[in-house]
């Protein structure tokens, strides 16, 4: 990795953090409607994974999708604009927080029904296999999604058809307010992949470089024809499940313990220790990220509302 690569990863993580902090404020001001699920605490997961993909590799995720959008190369402007429901949003204001996508950047959403995007991910990978494309589909989902039937149907199909897909469970310890131990028959999620004869791994999701290294290895193997593989990433969301979560299901001690493990702080410290970057350079990246979000909010607030014709013209392709 070059120095610019490290700085780029750091920059992306801080952009996500600032974006989510600002989104929380905009939500409290009533400018964002519906549900809002923040990625704060989990930035290293998506940043590490997606930094290892090639442009032809497809990415699909669940509803905690703003950070994934940033990592896929969407601008903070179009992400914030989508949160505000504006015409300039990545989904033209039709999808909102949970339904962001940009298929030109191979980012296939943003899906809000738990687990339902897993069979769709298998289909994306099937499309590449059928058309002899050397591409991998990266499918991310939460620990909660591993308890629903779609997960099992999709993993089974992917193995039966040897699909080029990397299944990644972001284990943030809770499906809404229910801990993994209370919802899943096995607390080590990766064991579920054993049931499908699928190679599986676990990695520390608070360390972006470890995530990236693991993802890089798995992308290469899958691209070479290994078939589907499974990765469990241990992580933690520092905020509630969504806005307005009373968080009765976990102690503040627990939250503080994880917050001491802040993925951005860890990465900052590591880069300085590795002498890959100095404090000043990293602080500069953080300032740039902050500025980017300020500009994104200005852009989004000044953007026009979508017109009603966008609604009617997009129900079908052929009306």
């Amino acid at each position: 990795m070059e120095k610019s690569d490290y700085l780029n990863l750091y920059h992306q993580m801080v952009v996500i953090r600032r974006l989510e902090e600002r989104a929380a404020e905009l939500y409290q001001q009533g400018k964002i409607g519906g549900f809002l699920h923040l990625y704060i605490g989990q930035e290293a997961v998506s940043t590490g994974l997606i930094s290892a993909r090639r442009p032809e590799d497809r990415v699909i995720t669940a509803y905690r999708d703003h950070g994934v959008a940033i990592n896929c190369g969407l601008s903070a402007k179009e992400v914030v604009a989508e949160l505000l429901g504006k015409a300039t949003g990545c989904s033209q204001g039709m999808g909102g927080s949970m339904h962001m996508a940009d298929v030109k950047k191979n980012y296939w959403g943003g899906h809000a029904i738990v687990g339902a995007h897993l069979p769709i991910a298998a289909g994306l990978a099937l499309g590449d296999l059928y058309q002899n494309q050397k591409a991998v589909t990266l499918c991310m989902f939460g620990d909660g999604a591993t308890n629903i039937g779609y997960f099992h149907e999709a993993l089974n199909l992917s193995k039966v058809w040897n699909l080029p897909i990397l299944w990644v469970c972001e284990n943030n310890q809770y499906g809404m307010g229910t801990s993994v131990e209370r919802a899943s028959a096995v607390s080590e999620i990766r064991q579920k992949a054993d049931g499908f004869g699928m190679k599986n791994y676990q990695v520390d999701g608070m360390d972006v470089l470890k995530v990236r290294e693991m993802a890089d290895k798995l992308f290469q193997e899958i691209r070479a024809g290994s078939g589907p593989q499974f990765l469990e990433v241990d992580t933690y969301r520092f905020r509630g499940h969504s806005m307005g979560d009373p968080e009765r299901y976990r102690s503040s001690d627990e939250v503080h313990r994880w917050q001491e493990n802040d993925p951005i702080g860890i990465f900052h410290k590591k880069l300085v220790e590795m002498k890959a970057a100095g404090d000043a350079e990293l602080n500069h990246q953080a300032d740039l990220a902050e500025q980017e979000i300020i500009e994104a909010v200005v852009f989004a607030e000044a953007s026009p509302e979508p017109t009603v014709d966008v609604v009617f013209s997009n129900v079908y392709v052929e009306n």
Binding site: G89, C90, S91, Q92, G93, M94, G95, H99, A101, D102, V103, K104, W108, G109, G110, H111, I113, A116, H117, L118, P119, I120, A121, A122, G123, L124, A125, L126, G127, D128, Y130, Q131, G149, Y150, E153, A154, N156, L157, V160, W161, V310, V311, S313, N314, V315, Y316, V317, E318
Partner: protein, 323 residues
């Protein structure tokens, strides 16, 4: 024109579209080695190979979800649900994923997806395997729903569906597979969302589709012997729903009977009747009658099952009530 069965017409449409476009492929339970549980894809596996005629596990969400994903990559999957009763296991993917994605992501996702599903009662399969839930699926904007009643329409509509850019549910009726009819050879296309007059008449309008077209035509023959000329409008597509031929016919006859195989409550007949009242109230000479399945889960016993399904006599007496 050749006189072939509905099964042959559907098979022909699939075969020709697969020959025409390598992006078209089939996936579903027993579509390959077995040749299709209703033999629609018999011979396909040997000719097109395992990559294009893909046998799936018994996992309907994976079948439809997988087909959605493949369609997003530009392929044209024809996903087969062995029966429409199994569509409930993939309900989320049909109505909450496929029907939403184009709109919800601002038009950037395109899903040229066809779901073939066999429905209908009358074969002593018991309550879980005998339903006609067409109206449920027609409820959702974003999904197209067609249900042909003749072999020619089956071929023409299926070819149109495979070439369409939108997700579409293609409902076949299990007891129509042996029905014969004239079917144009080669590239024959029937546009989606167009109703048609299946039988001209002047005294009463019968609105129907799929299997009930056959029942309605038989009823019309009997009525003709009594001097009553029924005009039959075959809807063919349930969404988009083309009311023009219905309203035009109704303005002439001022009386209508809607015949469907599904249950009456919240059904196709309810929708058609409401639209007639909304669009042609001044032409109404009698209340619109609905002929439909008795509102019970269908029994296994042959006599009782037949008793619950709409029959020719039911159509005849409904027509006489509105005259």
């Amino acid at each position: 024109m050749a006189r072939i069965t509905m099964r042959e017409a559907i098979s022909q449409a699939l075969w020709e579209e697969m020959e025409r476009d390598p992006k078209v492929f089939i996936m579903g339970e027993e579509v390959g080695l077995w040749g299709g549980t209703y033999a629609v894809t018999k011979g396909f596996y040997d000719h097109f190979g395992a990559d294009r005629v893909r046998d799936t596990p018994i996992a309907e969400a994976a079948i439809i979800g997988g087909a959605i994903g493949a369609a997003l990559t530009g392929l044209r999957p024809v996903a087969e649900l062995m029966t429409i009763n199994f569509a409930f296991s993939a309900f989320d993917h049909i109505v909450n994923q496929a029907a939403k994605m184009h709109m919800m992501f601002g038009g950037q996702m395109v899903l040229p997806l066809v779901i073939r599903a066999v429905g209908g009662g009358g074969r002593q399969l018991g309550a879980t395997h005998s339903q006609t839930p067409d109206a449920i699926f027609a409820h959702f904007p974003g999904l197209k729903v067609v249900a042909p009643g003749t072999p020619a329409d089956a071929k023409g509509l299926l070819k149109a569906a495979i070439r369409s850019q939108d997700p579409l549910l293609f409902i076949e009726h299990a007891t129509l597979y042996q029905t014969r009819g004239e079917v144009p050879e080669g590239d024959y296309i029937v546009p989606i969302g167009k109703s048609t007059v299946a039988r001209p008449g002047k005294d009463v309008t019968i609105v129907t589709y799929s299997k009930m077209l056959e029942i309605s035509l038989k009823a019309a023959e009997t009525l003709a012997k009594e001097g009553i000329e029924a005009e039959i409008v075959d809807l063919r597509s349930l969404r988009p729903l083309d009311m023009d031929p219905v309203i035009e016919s109704f303005k002439k006859t001022n009386r209508a009977v809607v015949v469907e195989e599904g249950w009456k409550s919240f059904g196709i007949g309810s929708e058609i009747a409401a639209r007639i009242y909304e669009e042609a109230f001044d032409y109404v000479d009698a209340p619109v009658k609905r002929v439909a399945q008795t509102e019970v889960p269908l029994p296994y016993n042959h006599t009782l099952e037949q008793m619950m399904l709409p029959k020719v006599e039911d159509v005849i007496s409904a027509v006489k009530e509105v005259l």
